[in-house]
């Protein structure tokens, strides 16, 4: 029984990092309708920034974290201004933007490998302090992962519902054709959305770099998992991405419970497929439809 509980706990801690990425991915996807695979490149960019600031420049966390978040937000803005906006202006559709995004992710991975090598770069070595809850163990960082994910999400929800810019983002997500009619500057809002999404990815990057270090390809799998989490949660509803990420993290762990771990990937994605076949709109998709209606 303790084995099962530990697997669930592992899943929740992994899910916290997926959640930060998934919420960032979802806000970009909902507002811009870009399947933003380059979100993985932003994560890795932020991780290398954090590594350079801490391990090379010797900055403390209090300085390094906000600088990393700012640099990642700027990187996201540049992706919008340098890639998505020009393609949109030339009439590129969703598929074209997605391919461009994938291409940019691959390009970045190669550039990172050339600059930093393919080795894992770390800012600390060894294990972390652990807390024991009976037979269960959890580290301080993993508790921090979950707390940060929830706080960041609540702050984002407050921003989206209570600020003028947040309401503009929601309006754009709800109806991109009507938004300009009511005075929302679409291009500027797209840039803002990319900055917010990228800032969220940078928080995940900081936590991952502190835990496991940074390497050029680290963004690919996580952005893939985030997209799956968004599908589980339901497109268009931000809390869905959060719940989907935690659910996916737990599912990955439980897939090994009574089975050979060789089946982990297969069982996880078979379960996701079955779920989506039964509920294609995701966990909260129906609520979105009601709200939109």
């Amino acid at each position: 029984m303790s084995e099962l509980a530990q697997l669930v706990l592992n899943g929740l801690t992994n899910g916290a990092v997926y959640a930060l990425m998934a919420v960032g991915f979802a806000i970009v996807f909902n507002a811009t309708h870009v399947f933003h695979l380059a979100h993985g490149a932003v994560l890795t960019f932020a991780a290398y920034c954090f590594y350079l600031l801490v391990a090379v420049a010797g900055l403390g966390l209090l300085l390094a974290v906000p600088i990393t978040v700012a640099l990642a937000a700027l990187f996201g803005c540049l992706i919008e201004l340098g890639i998505y906006a020009p393609l949109r202006a030339r009439g590129a559709g969703s598929a074209g933007l997605m391919i461009a995004s994938l291409g940019f992710l691959a390009l970045c991975q190669n550039v990172y490998a050339i600059i930093f090598s393919t080795d894992v770069l770390t800012i600390r070595s060894g294990g972390l302090a652990i807390f024991r809850l009976g037979a269960l163990t959890v580290t301080s960082l993993h508790i921090a992962d979950a707390v940060v994910a929830v706080i960041v999400f609540l702050a984002l929800q407050a921003f989206l519902t209570r600020s003028r810019h947040g309401r503009a983002i929601r309006a754009l997500a709800d109806n991109p054709q009507l938004a300009p009619v009511i005075g929302i500057e679409t291009r500027r809002t797209y840039v803002l959305v990319m900055a917010i999404g990228s800032a969220l990815a940078s928080v995940a990057a900081v936590l991952l770099t502190w835990d496991l270090g940074v390497q050029p390809t680290m963004g690919f799998l996580i952005v893939f998992f985030s997209a799956v989490a968004v599908a589980i949660g339901g497109h268009g509803y931000l809390p869905g991405a959060l719940v989907g990420a935690f659910a996916f993290g737990v599912l990955q762990q439980l897939a090994t419970w009574q089975l050979d771990s060789r089946w982990q990937g297969g069982v996880t994605f078979a379960a996701v497929l079955v779920f989506l076949a039964l509920r294609p709109q995701g966990l909260f998709g129906a609520r979105l439809n009601v709200r939109k209606a």
């Binding site: 530990q6 080795d119 294990g127 972390l128 024991r132």
Partner: protein
């Protein structure tokens, strides 16, 4: 215009077909070309550069410094196979059909297995530091590294000698690791030792918490972890510590000694046992470290030796006929190189044996008697 293009295409095709009827070696003039189909990009690229590609090219440089092979210059042609079968096959075609290499030195296993049939039909020898027994089963293949089953038996020998009772293993989902794992299981089970858990992971995985949670519950007194990546060992050890457990004894492969592992895991690597190919310390100090700036591990030493032994044998074969060169290599005696004195003893598998070593606290390794 279309007709002209068609005839032009047919003519080129006919020329290529005629050209391919001649074996690669028959078209060589002067230079001896060695194809290196190896990883040069992706997550393993830096390790591969340090411990496979550079040592292999160093062996070619050393041969040329000694005057080449019977006065002929040796040229190494390095191509990136990306560790995959698809790219490995494309690289093999390029090295054989365009570069006309005399031999292909190739790893890892997926690229080797894709190279073998192409090399067999072109009669080009293939030498590999892979551990797949399929290489030595090929009439044109030779393994410079002990095969996977021998690796599994080396692990088992350690476990049996130390009288462990409950062993578990964590193994990559590759053919070679599976073969090594099976040989290990068979041998320890035969000795009456209980295998309490077997877990596997995808080759580029970073999260091992699910597998380690199950191993923790199984409570082994010895855990075998198989990986070719220092980073993988680092992640596993960190996550094991985060789950608050550590089996009394951990046994691994020699990539645990890669500097990456200690960078990631710190002193968690201390006291871990591993099997390794013995590198000659005198060769490392005299030949390798002064020019490379770091130490060779077993892979690096065998990569050097695989090329150097082949070139020494080439010089004695008295022919460019690849079959004769390969036969000379398999029966070559008196070679002494990076892993000391060794040879193939007539078999397409190296006779080099593993030994057991341990990570010393604070850094370095020590041989376990």
């Amino acid at each position: 215009m279309k007709k002209t293009r068609l005839w032009f295409g047919i003519a080129i095709g006919a020329l290529l077909a005629l050209g391919s009827r001649h074996p690669a070696w028959a078209q060589q003039k002067g230079e001896i070309k060695i194809g290196l189909s190896q990883i040069a990009s992706g997550v393993a690229a830096d390790y591969w550069a340090r411990q496979v590609n550079k040592p292999a090219l160093l062996a070619i440089d050393d041969a040329n410094e000694k005057g080449g092979v019977n006065g002929r210059k040796v040229v190494g042609i390095l191509e990136d196979n990306q560790g995959s079968a698809t790219t490995g096959a494309a690289v093999a075609h390029k090295l054989i059909e365009i570069d006309k290499v005399s031999m292909i030195f190739v790893a890892p296993t997926p690229a080797v297995l894709a190279t073998l049939p192409i090399a067999e039909s072109a009669h080009v020898p293939v030498i590999s530091t892979s551990i797949s027994p399929k290489v030595s089963a090929s009439p044109w293949g030779a393994l410079a590294q002990p095969p996977a089953d021998r690796q599994g038996l080396a692990y088992a020998k350690f476990v049996i000698e130390h009288k462990f009772q409950r062993v578990a293993d964590l193994t990559g989902q590759s053919d070679s690791d599976t073969i090594a794992s099976k040989a290990f299981h068979d041998a320890v089970s035969k000795a009456g030792i209980k295998v309490v858990d077997t877990e596997t992971y995808e080759v580029n995985a970073q999260d091992f918490t699910a597998q380690l949670t199950k191993i923790r519950a199984a409570n082994p007194d010895c855990l075998l972890i198989q990986s070719l990546s220092g980073a993988t060992y680092g992640f596993v050890l960190k996550q094991m510590a985060q789950l608050g457990f550590r089996p009394p004894t951990i046994l691994t492969y020699y990539q645990i000694a890669d500097p990456q592992t200690r960078k990631l895991a710190g002193d968690l690597v201390d006291g871990i046992y591993f099997i390794e190919i013995p590198v000659d310390p005198e060769w490392n100090a005299r030949v390798f470290r002064p020019r490379m700036g770091y130490d060779a591990d077993g892979n690096g030493a065998l990569a050097y030796d695989a090329i150097a032994l082949y070139l020494d044998a080439y010089a004695t074969a008295g022919s460019d006929d690849p079959q004769k060169v390969r036969a000379a290599m398999l029966n070559y005696k008196g070679y002494k190189g990076a892993v000391g004195a060794w040879g193939y003893n007539g078999q397409p598998v190296t006779q080099v044996q593993y030994r057991v070593a341990r990570m010393k606290p604070g850094g370095g390794t020590e041989i376990v008697p």
